[in-house]
């Protein structure tokens, strides 16, 4: 899984998460090692829903709506999402090898900075698919 953290310092901070294959809710819960129904269980449930159900999936968005307008995924990332060259250069190669590329705008403050990125990696890396 590739994670790109875009920190704009203007309220539009976001992660770009490229998954070799989509994770189920059960897989995330197993990785999280939390008790279903507990505070932590509800927190992971919210996190899962925010990432996999409520966030924009870029491959689908590009294929359905933007590939006529932008001839490459890289140009879509640069012009539609206004990513920098460096950011787009990391994400664009994931297009062919990823099942999903998700733009996740974190609502949980603890996901900021390096510890947040490390937590996401531990929760969401699918070792069998890597």
């Amino acid at each position: 899984m590739e994670i790109v953290w875009v920190d704009r310092r203007d309220g539009s901070d976001r992660f770009y998460l490229a998954f070799p294959r989509c994770l189920s809710r059960e897989q995330v819960f197993i990785r999280a090692k939390v008790t279903p129904g507990s505070y932590a269980g509800r927190l992971v449930e919210r996190l899962y829903r925010n990432i996999f159900e409520m966030s924009l999936e870029l491959k689908r968005d590009y294929n359905l709506y933007y590939q006529l307008e932008y001839d490459t995924f890289y140009r879509y990332l640069r012009r539609r999402l206004l990513l920098s060259k460096d950011e787009a250069a990391i994400i664009a190669p994931c297009f062919e090898i990823s099942a999903a590329i998700i733009e996740y705008k974190p609502r949980h403050y603890f996901l900021r900075d390096d510890p947040g990125r490390a937590l996401l990696e531990k929760l969401l890396t699918d070792e069998e698919a890597e």
Binding site: S38, A40, F110
Partner: protein, 137 residues
């Protein structure tokens, strides 16, 4: 209409009440919150534990408080931070062999503490009760 030019602070705090039968430990907090020791989230809850303990302003040995005592006399410094729900809970614990911790988390410290300042929660098991409902975000 007033127009403010410049930076606007949006800091926040959350008052909390913890009641523990035995020692309040990181393990007790993880158990209450449903986090396994090897969970990727364990570090976050250990940091929350440290935040709680660093923010305790009042610690009460409830076994030394008579069951008909006015609990407000024991929490006078924090009276304004406590909801009637918290006061009711403290009253119910008078004379029991438990320890109550009262304090306030601050959103201007770490991302973890900031998150818990923005979340409202009330959790209880047979060892620990935590009230973090008084979120002023």
């Amino acid at each position: 209409m007033k127009i403010r030019a410049g930076f606007v602070s949006n800091s926040s705090s959350t008052s909390f009440l913890i009641i523990a039968k035995d020692d309040f430990t990181p393990e007790a907090l993880r158990r209450l919150m449903g986090v396994d020791e090897s969970s990727p989230l364990a570090d976050m809850f250990d940091e929350l534990f440290s935040s709680f303990m660093g923010a305790v302003r009042t610690e009460l040995d409830m076994s030394k408080i008579a069951i008909d005592a006015d609990i407000k006399l024991y929490v006078s410094e924090q009276r304004r931070d406590l909801s009637s729900h918290m006061i009711d809970r403290l009253n119910a614990e008078r004379g029991r062999n438990v320890t109550a911790y009262l304090g306030r988390l601050d959103s201007e410290t770490s991302p973890v503490q900031t998150f818990f300042c923005t979340d409202s929660f009330e959790e209880e098991n047979d060892q620990v009760y935590i009230n973090g409902l008084e979120c002023a975000w």
